[in-house]
């Protein structure tokens, strides 16, 4: 298991899980996909420091300001701490002045004030209309300033797509993890105790599984206008846990009849420990193999909801929203739709590679011992 204590003894052999991780590393395509994707994801956590219209640091009249970090921490602690956002008016300019313009102004002034911008100096939700040259209307085609062009409102597509990557993957991961926790808990209870609990539990699952997912989500979203976390919770509750519960319940049913469970009972082990210490590690194989494909599913359906306009609240940067913009535009504005589609394709392909690798590494056939 992942969280097993390290043992100092020599002559320690690998657990099944360790063996599978070694097997996974041997499957190069999957392993490199995993490294690239998780690397990019970790990088995308720091998006506010890399791709932002807020500067990393400003020196103005002897004091230092760090607006981008404010933005970064706001993402985590926004609910707890009230952060002050800066704009041009804090630095002796008008409110509409962007930091890019401020940088130029400071340089021209030469008073020792300076602005340090992030690597890519456009943000995902800013509309720098006043910086467009005369007579140019958004959307604009890709150029040196806006790598992937701008969308209909003049927002930078590269910035939006990058933030969208972070949100998509986070959403997929979060929904998968929460569904697994709920699904495994429910499945374990139903499978292990069986009887009447199982009888009624299954009926509840059947009711939930007949709900038409997209329609229910649309209706709920209309009412609730959910935030990121609430939307994820709705996904988990309406759809995510059901499939996992089925799997885990069946695995528990099978495993509880095995003798090692009877042996644990005979030594006086408690039900809870038997369920989660003995049976669970043996019941997890199929659901772990399934996880990457579940993530793909959730990313895909988030894009679908955003596309229909029932997803995350505007102006959250998301792929689905970009695709929707692109689909409604003339084909001469091709860059709006191409960017999110290519990114979506690449991401889903990479996750699929990982999923295939996991499945292969977990395949008992290939690495079974001959008895």
């Amino acid at each position: 298991m992942f969280f097993k204590k390290k043992n100092k003894d020599q002559d320690r052999s690998e657990s099944i899980m360790e063996k599978r991780i070694i097997n996974f590393k041997k499957i190069k395509r999957a392993y490199y996909s995993f490294i690239i994707l998780s690397g990019l994801y970790i990088l995308s956590i720091f998006c506010p420091l890399l791709i932002n219209n807020q500067p990393l640091a400003v020196k103005y009249e002897g004091s230092y300001y760090f607006p981008a970090f404010t933005d970064f921490f706001d993402g985590f602690l926004g609910k707890v701490v009230n952060f002050k956002y800066y704009n041009g008016s804090d630095f002796g300019q008008s409110q509409e002045t962007s930091f890019r313009q401020l940088k130029k102004v400071f340089k021209e002034e030469g008073k020792g004030n300076w602005v340090m911008m992030p690597l890519y100096s456009y943000g995902p939700i800013e509309t720098p209309l006043n910086e467009f040259p005369e007579g140019v209307e958004p959307p604009t085609a890709p150029d040196a300033q806006h790598w992937f062009g701008t969308d209909t409102q003049g927002r930078d597509i590269f910035a939006r797509a990058s933030y969208g990557f972070f949100i998509s993957i986070s959403f997929g991961l979060l929904v998968t993890i929460l569904s697994y926790i709920l699904g495994i808990g429910m499945g374990a209870l139903l499978g292990y105790f069986g009887g009447r609990l199982d009888l009624y539990g299954l009926r509840v699952i059947e009711i939930f599984s007949t709900l038409p997912f997209l329609f229910v989500m649309m209706i709920l979203v209309q009412f609730a206008r959910p935030s990121f976390a609430l939307l994820a919770a709705m996904y988990v509750f309406i759809k995510g846990w059901i499939g996992i519960t089925y799997y885990v319940r069946a695995e528990f049913y099978r495993e509880k009849a095995r003798d090692y469970v009877a042996a644990a009972t005979a030594m006086g082990q408690s039900n809870f420990k038997i369920m989660f210490k003995h049976i669970l590690p043996n019941a997890l194989t199929s659901v772990i193999t399934f996880a990457p494909f579940a993530i793909i599913g959730y990313i895909g359906s988030l894009v679908a909801l955003d596309f229909l306009g029932f997803g995350l609240p505007t102006p959250t940067p998301s792929w689905g929203e970009l695709i929707q913009q692109g689909a409604n535009q003339d084909t001469k504005y091709w860059w709006i739709i191409i960017t999110p589609l290519v990114l979506l394709f690449l991401t889903l392909t990479t996750v699929t590679f990982i999923g295939e690798g996991v499945r292969q590494a977990f395949d008992p056939k290939e690495y079974a011992r001959l008895r």
């Binding site: 298991m1 043992n7 003894d9 020599q10 002559d11 320690r12 052999s13 690998e14 657990s15 099944i16 899980m17 095995r258 003798d259 090692y260 009877a262 042996a263 644990a264 009972t265 005979a266 030594m267 006086g268 082990q269 408690s270 420990k273 003995h278 590690p281 043996n282 690495y367 011992r369 001959l370 008895r371």
Partner: protein, 596 residues
Amino acid sequence: MSDLLLEVKNLKTYFHTENGTVKAVDDVSFNLHSGETVGIVGESGSGKSVTSLSIMRLIPMPPGEFAGGEVIWHKDDGSKENLLEIPIERMRDYRGNDISMIFQEPMTSLNPVFTCGDQVVETIVLHQNISEAEAKKRTIALFDQVKLPTPERIFDAYPHQISGGQKQRVMIAMAMACEPKILIADEPTTALDVTVQKRILELMLNLQKEKGSTTIFITHDLGVIAEIADRVIVMYKGKIVEQGTVLDIFSNPQHPYTKGLLACRPPLHKRLYRLPTVKDFMEVGSDGKIIEKISSVEDALKAVEIKAEDREARIKEMMSKPPILQVQGLKTYFPAKKNFFGKVLSYVKAVDDISFDVYPGETLGLVGESGCGKTTLGRTILRLVPATAGKVIYKGKSILDLSKSDMKDMRRDMQIIFQDPYSSLNPRMTIGAAIIEPLQIHGIGANDNERMDKARQLLETVSMQADHVNRYPHEFSGGQRQRICVARALALEPEFIILDESVSALDVSVQAQVLNLLNELQDNYGFTYIFISHDLSVVKFMSDRMVVMNQGKVEEMGDSDDICYNPQRAYTQKLVSAIPEGRLEDIKERFARKNG
């Protein structure tokens, strides 16, 4: 001898695994003449199954590989063909048609979604150019030949609807469907009860006599070989160590390994305090050479025999104490039929009004065919299965009425060791973690380091290496795993242990080692055992007194020797007579019948 049918020459089958190359079959040569039955004997891992699978080219590749040798098939017209070299499409013509196979596990070798009849028809239609209706007629005739009751009904039955013995008969019918020249039977009776085994062996003998078919019979039990084979090949670690006629092997074994295999079977007409094992006869030197230690099987057996008066004294002393466990009118019913509203209409009476006493230090044997309720009885005593009625009194306390926390304390005293060493250890836990788990539950020992030290001691107690604590169960053989299970049961220092078919899944030679270990432990620690098994000879070896169970009820109860030497009930007589003893007289008689 009659015509040469198959020649195996210097066959080498290797497996390339993560831990290096395993030479499963290492330079094996033998001939097979038409009409004879050749038995291949050896412990698991000796390469006997791989040899037969190599002949059929059923070795998975990779990881398997034919590293050399030939399997030469002699056709009727005198031409020869090397089966290892022909294309796999041609090999399919041989499979099922010229060579067919019966597998060990009848439960899994029939496809559960087809009826038994369909599966046999499929084989016939596949290899012979006849209509389905014709094939059906043939199948029913075959079912009749293998002595299946009501062949028409079995034809339409699904595998789960018939018993294990019947399934094995269907398998035999399927294997014989195309009248193959060679029949390979890979441990066909190992998964079956002794009584069923006897009937299957009789059937195979009859078919042999009627059809003159050629058979390769693979088993780990020399007793079975004595009942059926003409010639014996003894395999050890991928090599043939001895071959000869059955009479020669039984009357005058040459190789120490063969002697070990002969001596390690629990004898029915002697009482021994320990079984000789293969290790008593031979030792593998550091250079891989085999050193012989005892040369005569009779001497080895004589050395361990118990005198009748010693045994009487022991039983007398034992019975003088008050019983440690009393079972009174115990009943365990399972609902069989329910009506629309879930009300139970009828029950399966797995344990039906059973009473007996167990005395401290005693081994009580519990014997019966599978399905007689002996396992349920054991589990009911430990409250792993809820009882319907009756009383279980252990040291004056009524176990069935204990509260949850009292029961937890009671579990320290009463342990159980299960049948299948492959499923009774959690594959995700190191064996050290498995052994210290009961200590953790009951809060014995100050911390895990201290408990781990105890686990190491326990492993040594069951003659395993202490530094194996951090290994996982899959790295051990069946016998070693059963030792680990014993160590786990001993961790709580119980007084009373139920051994539920604990050696039934093991090879005869490994079984002997585990039985000896159990007896040693009993001598050293004074355990009380209930020993459950379907094999009367094993129960007799282990137990002082014995309970014979049939359909949930006690058939006969009393001193083990009395029951074995002088069974009163027809059921017990059937059990006694079903044991393949491998006595010389029996073999001679069989050959006399065959030739005369």
